[in-house]
Symmetry: C3
Subunit: 674 residues, 3 copies
Amino acid sequence: MKTTFNKLYHGADYNPEQWKDYPGVIDEDMRLMKLSKCNVMSINIFGWTEIEPAEGVYDFTFLDYVMDKLAENDVKAILATPSGARPAWMSKAHPEVLRTNADRTVNLHGERHNHCLTSPYYRKKVYEINRRLAERYKDHPALLMWHLSNEYGGECHCEMCRAKFVEWLKKKYNNDLDDLNAKYWTKFWSHTYTDWDQIEPPSPLGETAVHALNLDWKRFTTEQVMDFIENEVAPLREFTPDTPVTANFMEILQDYDYYKLRNVVDVISWDNYPRWHSGNDVAMAQYAAFQHDNFRSFKSQPFFLMESTPSLVNWHEYNRMKRPGMNILSSLQAVAHGSDSVQYFQWRKSRGSSEKMHGAVVDHCGHENTRVFKEVAKLGDILENLSEVAGTNSTSDVAVIFEWENRWALNDMQGLIRDDKKYNETCVAHYAPFWQRGVNVDVIDSLSDWSKYKLVVAPMLYMVKTGIPEKIAEYVENGGNVVFTYASGWVDENDLCYLGGFPAGKLKDVFGIWAEEVDVLYPDQNNAVEMTDGKSYKAIDYCEILHANEADVLATFKDDFYAGSPAVTVNNYGKGKAYYIAFRDCGDFLDEFYGDIVDELGLTREIGDMPYGVTAHTRESDTDIYTFVQNYTTEPCDVTLSNVYTDVLSGETVSGQTTLPKYGVKVLKRSKEI
Amino acid sequence: MKTTFNKLYHGADYNPEQWKDYPGVIDEDMRLMKLSKCNVMSINIFGWTEIEPAEGVYDFTFLDYVMDKLAENDVKAILATPSGARPAWMSKAHPEVLRTNADRTVNLHGERHNHCLTSPYYRKKVYEINRRLAERYKDHPALLMWHLSNEYGGECHCEMCRAKFVEWLKKKYNNDLDDLNAKYWTKFWSHTYTDWDQIEPPSPLGETAVHALNLDWKRFTTEQVMDFIENEVAPLREFTPDTPVTANFMEILQDYDYYKLRNVVDVISWDNYPRWHSGNDVAMAQYAAFQHDNFRSFKSQPFFLMESTPSLVNWHEYNRMKRPGMNILSSLQAVAHGSDSVQYFQWRKSRGSSEKMHGAVVDHCGHENTRVFKEVAKLGDILENLSEVAGTNSTSDVAVIFEWENRWALNDMQGLIRDDKKYNETCVAHYAPFWQRGVNVDVIDSLSDWSKYKLVVAPMLYMVKTGIPEKIAEYVENGGNVVFTYASGWVDENDLCYLGGFPAGKLKDVFGIWAEEVDVLYPDQNNAVEMTDGKSYKAIDYCEILHANEADVLATFKDDFYAGSPAVTVNNYGKGKAYYIAFRDCGDFLDEFYGDIVDELGLTREIGDMPYGVTAHTRESDTDIYTFVQNYTTEPCDVTLSNVYTDVLSGETVSGQTTLPKYGVKVLKRSKEI
Amino acid sequence: MKTTFNKLYHGADYNPEQWKDYPGVIDEDMRLMKLSKCNVMSINIFGWTEIEPAEGVYDFTFLDYVMDKLAENDVKAILATPSGARPAWMSKAHPEVLRTNADRTVNLHGERHNHCLTSPYYRKKVYEINRRLAERYKDHPALLMWHLSNEYGGECHCEMCRAKFVEWLKKKYNNDLDDLNAKYWTKFWSHTYTDWDQIEPPSPLGETAVHALNLDWKRFTTEQVMDFIENEVAPLREFTPDTPVTANFMEILQDYDYYKLRNVVDVISWDNYPRWHSGNDVAMAQYAAFQHDNFRSFKSQPFFLMESTPSLVNWHEYNRMKRPGMNILSSLQAVAHGSDSVQYFQWRKSRGSSEKMHGAVVDHCGHENTRVFKEVAKLGDILENLSEVAGTNSTSDVAVIFEWENRWALNDMQGLIRDDKKYNETCVAHYAPFWQRGVNVDVIDSLSDWSKYKLVVAPMLYMVKTGIPEKIAEYVENGGNVVFTYASGWVDENDLCYLGGFPAGKLKDVFGIWAEEVDVLYPDQNNAVEMTDGKSYKAIDYCEILHANEADVLATFKDDFYAGSPAVTVNNYGKGKAYYIAFRDCGDFLDEFYGDIVDELGLTREIGDMPYGVTAHTRESDTDIYTFVQNYTTEPCDVTLSNVYTDVLSGETVSGQTTLPKYGVKVLKRSKEI
């Protein structure tokens, strides 16, 4: 199956069914799509009642019309399965489809993504509607891709789901309840289960303190939605074996382990809504870039930016518009990091209901003479001119570990700063120095292949799964370099603490240290860290008290009773180096620390040092390298090039010093031969 | 029916049943009422169990005694129907009277105002008890007015109420479910109803995102409580056709559309509890004045101040006492704005339960030698001396639109600053400049008659109902003047966005503008607005980006990408002017802006410019004008009079410069002939 | 029964059952207990499933093994009854044991302390398991004491508990519902009960506003848990009449009236977890000392510190470790105030579940070479050297009233600063000046014997029970001295306000004042208080407006309309003095005020004035006085001694000036003869 494409796609979520009774609107849409160079539309999202208005009564007349219209106008369809919101008639006739909350209240019909994930009836209906869609449109010229449901999320706590969870546990623990009790450490608080049927999913009304249960529930929920998806996908595979399937992910959502979900789709896509212009746009760009890299790394192939806004959203606390230029910059950021599409929610602002004020390509005024439409059209031109980039990929010398199971366990852990461990923020903080230096980064799971990276950074890897210490040892022994931090290597995949001292097992040898205690600092407290060269940095939140065994000490703490104890260490282990950072800094230490490592390891980057807020990321074809240089500041910035490039958008040749305007982007191409 | 009176009333909520077992207390109350010149008492509020101690067993002995006592002592009774809190025996025997919450949990017996609004049994019991009260006391000399229930509030979500809501919808939409679907824009998220019975009231467990449903639920709830009231009122009308009925409103409560509720009562009354001395008392006075004017405008006749505190409440976060003088000042503020009574909650502090620490005329010490009692008695004197004011009315050149349905829709809208649009505050901000200048203002609904006003100010009129654009056009064409702001004219009464550009339809012509986008500012961000004369103001929260078509630009934005675009415009349209303000200021702009308009239109005001925090409002009889000059500052202030007046309270003649002490009030009278 | 011991105990909660499958761990534990001089372990806490793995199937093999191991190693057992967490099989088979919440939702199995307090089945099972434990271990050499359940807490709202509450009310009110109605002041809001069965426990879904009901519910809950405990204790008393029983209290928990609960145990014990190093450690020490004194005063005999952490906890918001020295200092603080033990939660960090990161003597690394273990072992030495202190008691000239029922009523009261009256903080603020001066203080209930104290301080004694005014009058008449504050003497034990002026009845004579009103200040407001000597203090939160009748005025307010009115008064009444403080200060006034009183009354203290943050508390045997001098600052401090002492820990003789290092403690002994 072809999962990459030969051009960049530009488009939006499109809901023409809302305008069925408004004559002329759909034809006007076609005209405006052409004007804005939109060539793909996601349709039929939440379209169930339209195509099955009563149980067993199907009506595809309007969807046929829309598909044909799109095809006539050379617009492709990303055709959605409608499972994200079921018809009201179904909730009424089959109340078992309604979702049960963690507090065991049962929802009424409403909103979306509120179905039971187990209900055989619901799964049968989803299968059936998907089968009909696949059979009907399998050969339609507009069909580009399948879009599963929309933004899967949440979990159901009904009795059917509980029973399925118990079955899942029985299978996982080979029917050995003693084994489960041992892993769950249930003797604590007399929680030993003596019968499988005593197990309930976590609930604020029942159990929340058995962390391994919480973790298994999250794992089950992930597999439960994967299982739900398999049922969705089956008829699509049957009728359209060559049409790829995607499901739009919701940023780095806490609900499911997306790293597992990536396996049930063919093309990764996600919905990206940064709070631009709310404060520090450079930090915002880094956070978005981190996620782009995460989603690209899922399959090491281009992904789709399924949703973004051309202007503003309606659900932030402050719904601020993108300033002129930001839509182009942030859209090309996605492309720079591997997206082969720029898509919006939504094509046309709806007249009613909750998202009527969400940004769109076409505003309520209905015409093209708006700032937003004009900028979208300008981007349409740009994407057309960048079509050669489609299908190209990125390579990286560096990987940052960002792992869902670690995140769940760490956030759920009682201890440290109880309510906010800042795992996501810390991963981004360790990513930012590479972003600033234009070093490509992959964002991966600890179970991935590390061997292709010169450097792997694993911030706060609290959970180190069985085998990982040995894997790291082998990686470093063979010349890999690794960075660990405080609060790492504490528990295994069952959330059981490692005995014998942290970090887990062999990691003490790899890093040459023993981490005895963590000092937790209140928000108004801090310590200082002094490097061997005398430079000093502020430490906040966490200071770990290390014993350097074989490791060399690169920095020590200056204050408090552990003054003089190691704050940063490095251990030469085999052919590689293992770094350990024992404190949380405010960003400036990490910047210098990784700056030195970038130099020392000679990590690949296309452009040298750039002004603050300017970055560069590359995609490569077999023959060419495309460098996306981006300026997230509000001032023009100069960048010095050491190669000669073609500016893909202007066609000009550029070299030496070049200037990027405020929010400017350049796509510079050079042949790999040179 | 006579709905105005020939003297000012002074009194309180009176619960002698609480003191039945305390010999001498009621006689002492009578003595103290005389001392404090209290001439009216609200009784029988929450008195149900006293008069119907068991189902069908009635006992009016004590109520007879109280009514007679009051009559003997020349104190009038505002006699309450007891539906605000039903007996415990009723909840036990007829649990269907218990209210169901939005999350579908059912209340236990407790608190107050917790009944189902539909329950036929409850309605029957309310009718029956009211009938007995009316029949018994219809000729009693103490009876002045009926007081319905107490502070109606809230809503019930039980199955009976749901069914009634569905019936209400069927009637509203003429049994046309397609019409409802079109208005609710239900194709969004596949929410199309295919059967009336699929409709559920909004619930956090179900639907909250269909804004038109939310709006209809609020409308239904308003009509549901009106319907409940009709049942309450029926026996009162039958037996006492000449006795007016009131229901005390709870400030500008969000729950019901009071503008509709005004129609089911004869006399408007309300409960006013400002947080005096918590910060800016001038702002507090403006907020209270705005509400007084709103309630007076409901019927364009005097209202009753049914509740206030002589000192402090017990339910604010900080229960700070009124400083000496403030009770007189704030009570006369009510009279200045049209109240014919000053009433307190409560006459005597109860010994037990939750309101025992709420301020009262008579404290737990029981005697008259308290600061509070003495100030109440002093006010009693003043009110007696002001009796000629009773029944007089006010006229205004200016109206501010404050509309419940707009408020509901705007607050519910997803967008702008999501969680706090500040509609109420914005209306008061547009009202304050008139207050400061002593210009009488009416506060009305957009559907009211505008023709009698020289100026109508409509802040944030997000919802512009069908016909309103044409009404405004006609009003301005004929010489009316109107002020609009950002975020206006976006949706119709179905919460459907207007197509073709904002503000709605013809309003673009009236104002000569097109409003393309709204820039939302974070709390630490701002813009600046420069007037054509060079004066500059700070803009916060919202800056709308306008295109001035026919309009003249009075001010432009100074910063950001829309620098130079219009911030304030005026359009000459027919004989009137239409002003549009595209930003939110911090108060200083509005003050200057409306100051100029007051001068330009020559709006009626009795006193010229006054020091900050001093204001004047007028009431008029056929022959005289009474001007209430009030000083809300803690310093003496001078006011210059251009007429010769009689000071009603001192009997002196005043003219030229006169001084108001801290918290001082003067009531100045002049004949209209002069 | 012997309830004091001849040595100090040192130990921890010990859960060897968690390590049953880990060979060698228990033997290693024994070795480490010896090393750390631990001589007592609390065992079997939450051990139910271990000893009754299925209904009626008992297995004491492992517990026998543990008891024997402890005995062999000269470690005593505080043997817990397991009722704190029941087995999962029980919840499944007998769901009536599950607790019902105030909102009437029923819990699922989970967490701990979640049982119904009435369920006959559960009580029968608790009785039975306790009987078996008592019978089995009654003669075991390891058995030192019984530990009931663990941290009793919470309440159940099921129908069985409701019925029991109603029975309790019938008994309390002698079947006189009219009496209950009168006490509850139910005529307010028509809440009159006409049948006992109409009464429901307070609930957010029902009644919360009848404060006397809330109060009775709290009283019932206290007696209900006492009743539950009686059932727990019965078999223990039967089989082990000479073994004392304790139940660990959770700081000054709001749930139950511990002052009543003290009567159902033989030895008081409690769990103490201050937030050391979070800000002001001196204030933290005062708060801990106040609680120690409270728990010691419960029985005027030594208590046990049942739980503390050697390092950090896992449930604070910021889980900061105790700095070196703090564990010794804070542990000896407990001993100084009357503890005969220092015990930790927990002996060994568990591998899994929610408390795996909670501090412990033995860390996950498993060995003794940790900072924490070494400090624990050092403390073990110290406690061994202090064994002569065991069983000694303290005497105090001063008592501070801290009363649960007053606290409940005051916190529940609607008024003043509604959401936080700061009762606990105010009691500690009035306690702190004595702490700073090394004056021993008892913390008692108003119903206790006052006659042994020279001074009784009753901060915010809002509820003054029937008889207390007369008791105070008699106490002062006879030479006692008393301090009252604002907001005192307002209600009786039924939460009914006193009539005739505050403070209640005769107290007006005792203090020579009438308190007319309380001015409540917003956080940004303040007043000032000027002493007759000209010194001035800041007043915040509350300023009460007093009329000094017979009292002398010691200070007056400087600002606002009540400037010049009394802020502090004293009344000579009989042979004693009655002080009244009408405002809340920031600490500096109270420090000077009580400093003067300490001098004037010549209150006993062993050491004179000490530097800020240094304190001294004494315990006495028949022959000797032990003075614990403690330094809570981070700097060395000098203390001047006027006696000659033996330093118990060093054996040296000390006199004159002596220096305490940072966090230093000295135990100074002198013979009472000298």
